[in-house]
Amino acid sequence: MKIESARALKLEIASEVVPPAVSAISAAGGFSVTTFALHKLTKAEPLVALGVAPGKTEKDVRLAVRLQRHSLERAGALLENIRKRAKDEVDVRFVGRIAKHALPWYRQRQRPLQPGSSVGHFKITAGTIGAIAKLRKTGHDVILSNNHVLANENDAEAGDAILQAGVFDKGKLPKDTVAKLTKWVDLRPNGANLLDAAIATLSKGIAADPLDYKGIGTLAGVRTAPLSPGMTVSKVGRTTGVTHGRISAIELDKVVIQYDLGMISFDDQVEIESTGTTSFSAGGDSGSLILDVENRGCALLFAGSETGGPNGRGLTYANPIAIVLKRLAIDLHGD
């Protein structure tokens, strides 16, 4: 049938065929009910979804009927009536209840704060808590992530609210404020940069779990030995969760990266390729701490490409951790 006919038929069946069939089932004893909390009960009852499915040729379509109740599947008169009106140009399937996929833990609110989970300045979407570090001077706990995650690419003020989860993950002011922006290293559009990093001091009463890198293990402090190509690493981040990779280059200079500020060049960076079936990182993983095989922090993830690398899955870029800790005057827990 033509798509216009399918659309008209959808409306006709939704208004003239489905309601009497549902009433008939209700009169005969009703639908079965699944037990769940009352507060989750809504007025939207899963019954029949109608749409348009591909036909036998590219120009042809069929009416799509998706049944969400077995009672409807067994109601022969309903399907017979639909088939008759659609002249049998119909694709009927039982799909049951359709549930939304549960969000992974790293995109949800986490208390105590968890490394690897969603975070961000209140004006950005979301990045990742790389670490809960401690200020060298006072010992106060801070969130370590990127400038572009916590300081909005230099467009922020000390004291600005940091949300967990980040705004993109439904974090809201003021209830999800967990820290105040404290210090960042400016990104410079002219000249070579060495890092994209910032810290935010935890607000009173906000607890954190600095050593627990879910899915990887316990943080064992900072790696002091030099990084070398071929080293195995891992990370947990807000978008791709736990991933594993290998250092494909060190001492990488002239790394040109696209920011909202413009193209920014970095020197002395670390490059990582994935050893898994997916990319090592994706947008939103910024700020993740990269760990070596002994779970020592060795680099701060901040950028990536969609192509390149031996498997073509793209490459990830990170600042060596030593310069990050030095410039922000912080230490990792676990030392």
């Binding site: 190509p229 200079d253 002239k254 696209q258 950028a303 490409s305």
Partner: protein
């Protein structure tokens, strides 16, 4: 590693200006250090790209655009 660092330092003097380099560092070829050059776009004529510098292999990778994550 020292030889690879020397070769990396020489690279820019050996290739034509305008090459779309978006990163140059030290990688591995097999078990040996190599110069790794990332290119945003492929050059019109890749015969201008040196395969070794002072005996150190040079690896080229077309990585396209790199963006903040």
């Amino acid at each position: 590693m020292a030889a690879a660092r020397r070769a990396k330092a020489r690279f820019s003097s050996l290739v034509p200006k305008g090459l779309d380099v978006v990163g140059i560092g030290i990688g591995l070829k097999g078990d040996d250090p190599a110069v790794k050059v990332n290119l945003g776009t492929a050059p019109e004529d890749d015969s201008v790209l040196p395969k070794t510098i002072e005996g150190v292999p040079v690896l080229y990778d077309y990585v396209g655009k790199i963006t903040k994550r």
